[in-house]
Assembly symmetry: D3
Homo-oligomer: 220 residues x 6
């Protein structure tokens, strides 16, 4: 039997791990690889600063190193892709970051994309990463909810803000598709897509899709 | 039962369609969507010029329009992605191009990528497309086999050239991953990857993976 | 006697062909090459979608191939430059696209340029082309009239919109020059330039200028 | 009668002015504007350093200011376009620079271009200008003759080097067209094009073409 | 004793030279190199046009050539860096331009920067220079005071505008740091920084800092 | 008395700290701020992988947080700038990274720069960072010594390689200035500059220069 795809939630909030696991249900195939979602027990409650991301990077790498022989691929389920390059050094297996995979998926369906971040201060960090990846010519805009990772579970408030920011991305920035800029937004994807009328991408789904088809094809 | 993923080979060479269909075997899942590979009967034997690509574009769009109500998604299986934008207008369903999907997949596994084209004259056409997509900062290089689409089925000759060009991309251009720049190279992917020691991406597999997981998740 | 410059209107609207021919009067020189304007009889009434552009591409190439021995140069007079690369393969003669030539001309007179499109949905197609050409750093903005090619002949309405969009490009986007993003706007160039106070470029004039001086100099 | 197009040779070498004037013969039309070529009597013998270019800039602007009322357009015939922006401030008439026009013309006929400079030390100056113009994505390469402006009139030696560098641009850099990177190379254009088998652009011809058609059309 | 750092004010306004000299007081170290501020007596009262900048370029180079043997380094204290490349040819010593040094310093402290220009018409000139330097991806925005160099000494009016534009850069353009786009704004730096709450860079201080530490280290 | 500039060597090799401290002697001014060089006792012997860099990032941030009240500025003396953004969050003081400062300094003296890395595998990490910073248009090339941080203290071998790579950057890549891509190369700067005939930048000197003049001016 093949090894599972290991999806690492770099933060310590179990509710986030559970919601992302639920969102991956469609990718758990009869006879296909298991998709195992782990919480990083020592992580911050949410990755909200560069210090959080840097600490998570080291912890993610350790988890990956520990599981290198019992995983077919890894997914780093935080929109800063903490530790992605060190994890690749350690894994000897494919490692997918959700920010990277989410933006790549967005570019496979539309000419440009918008991003919804949790906090205003996340945006400069994301901008640096977009430049690192060379994708800035495809970015329509990024807008922040002004809510932390934990506050995302306040459904009424979080959803209202998502709709507001999604509409702004579509109308003011001309975004043709929206990428959710935090793994903790997974539960809202389908409703939001319906509401704002353009595709909405859950980046964890995008990354796990990459890992799944990699496993099915035994190829990149 | 859900509609099939329709993979359109824009050229008229059945052998190409068959080889790509074989390469997609791992993505045909129990209970998953059918993956139906069509040959474009009126297409050129291979898309080797801009005139070929432009003609194929119109034909691909017609096929897509005809199948819009009996497909869950479309894949355009020619490395020029002929007709991709018109097909999107016509389909009301996701349409994935293999060049686009192949390069996106490459960027999910490595910092840069090389491309193997069939003919020297394909390269300017591909360069224009890479600029259109905004991916030039991630391109390590592109090199041509000097073989037409039909000649690709001469296995000894084609494989020797693929190895030569793959090694040049890795050694001289510093490519970390190679994208096969023609749907007709699918049969050589696994052996070539083994031989040159870096991942080799069959772009048709990449595009169909996108369509498959889109269908599984009912989301982009 | 030298062969004519053949200007191809890829759409089937004779009024557009006639207006562009009128706008070229100043380039018909005593002893100079004839400037012959053709309508594509099988074309769409206006190129308003990617499907229109792709179909026109094939037709333009056929016209070019047919006239290859009785033309000194070709101009493709539609702001999507449909078929430009295949026409170059077929012609063995210079082939100028009006979008390309219009933007190049704009950059010879000012630091940036704005574009007036006919329809909102034309803009993503134009944006792709601007990226293909590598000119995005010089683009101030693009704005759409919200009028189809045929509606352009409603002079009162079309001109009012042109003035509105031209002023927006100058004031809101800081454009220093405006390129008319459709061959069917030729008749309004001079008045619009006078009205908005910055140069307005008819891209068909720009492309035919290139063809004319090429013929005069027997050089690129 | 309309005012002449005034072509300013920013250097003091009459032979350069005469050769460029000869190369413009095809643009002197019956009934068309005069094309008057001026030598800058106080200029350096050739613009070979930034100091030369800066001094020429001031002198060119003075000539333009003096002739503002007796010219229909100006061409600055030195491949550094010295003084182009100040000349535009002073002229109230179109001012075309030959480097700018030469590269724009090149991009109207091919996907990329190479440049032949006179001296190795000219290349960093040209590179800065190409970045200023935003054209670096279209540059295939630039190579220097290693000959000063005055040495260009030694025909045997100059032509042999031009052929050598033109061939290197085509073969090693993949250039599809060559731009002569000095007004003093005009006399060699036609032969060089014949010899190296790809189009060769005399940038003075390109700039004067722009001025001429501007005058014919009374539009940009 | 070591030669002084020579700071050249390319305009003829003594008050500007004096204010910049005052702002450099902290860099005059016991035992360190002298910092000598010169006025260009033949310069324009302020560099407000391209013609001003081009004339100043020639004059700056002459001053540099004259002082090449009695200076350890040069600073060109005008935000157009007039003559910087010719000065480098002439000096055989380091030559720092304040625009270049100011933007480089800004990028050492923040992810992006805004610029305050004196006049609206300065902005296109600055934009060309930013493209020349390749820094456009780090520019948040540029806004003009609408005041000439001489008007900058009207303290009440100038300061009010600086605060207005600084706040606009921070709030509307998202600038994380502001570069003063004219040497004549030096006197307002500290108060403006306090007022708008983000760092404000006097580019003359930045350039002289570079020259000073170069002298201290005898290295670039 | 003012607080010292704290220079953090993120690796645990004391010899590197000592050599960099020696190279900073010229910046220790009478009456100026102390320059205190710290070794990170828990760091790797050299930062040679992404895992090393990620671990160092967390440790650097902790050191910065601990010293936030007893430092006037911080310098992170490793060419990966580990932890720079988290350190800025924690410090409330200027934080300079040596890679960033070294490249910025290089761009203040020349049109392009080359980099000498320690190991081939450092180059992709540096390339990502150069894209993050937006400086790729100014990079002439990067070449690796093939020596680890600790091997850098083998003077004969290290110096011979530095000369070899420096010459290759100048001759093959056209670099106008060289940046040392590791804090551990400081001791070789002066001799290498003399040997290869173009400026060589010690990035630690560049970063500490920024911190020093910041302290002297009490401004950025």
């Amino acid at each position: 039997m093949s090894d599972p795809i290991v999806v690492i939630n770099p933060n310590s909030t179990e509710a986030v791990t559970e919601a992302m696991s639920d969102a991956l249900e469609g990718l758990r195939l009869p006879g296909g690889p298991d998709i195992e979602c782990l919480t990083n027990p020592d992580g911050p409650p949410g990755v909200e600063s560069q210090a959080d991301a840097d600490l998570a990077a080291v912890q993610v790498r350790e988890i990956v190193a520990r599981r290198a022989n019992s995983a077919s691929a890894f997914v780093i389920a935080c929109y800063s892709d903490p530790g992605i390059h060190a994890a690749r050094e350690a894994a000897g297996k494919p490692v997918f970051g959700i920010a990277e995979s989410g933006m790549l998926r967005a570019m496979s369906v539309a000419g440009n994309f918008g991003v919804i971040a949790i906090l205003e201060k996340s945006i400069p960090r994301h901008m640096r990463y977009i430049r690192t990846l060379g994708f800035e010519s495809r970015l329509a805009g990024e807008r922040a909810l002004g809510l932390g990772v934990v506050e995302l579970s306040d459904e009424t408030r979080a959803y209202a803000r998502l709709v507001e920011k999604g509409n702004e991305l579509r109308e003011l920035d001309g975004a043709q598709v929206v990428v959710l800029g935090c793994a903790g937004m997974a539960r809202y994807r389908a409703a939001l897509e319906e509401e704002i009328g353009i595709p909405v991408i859950d980046p964890t789904q995008a990354a796990v899709s990459n890992a799944l088809t990699n496993a099915l094809l035994k190829s990149p």
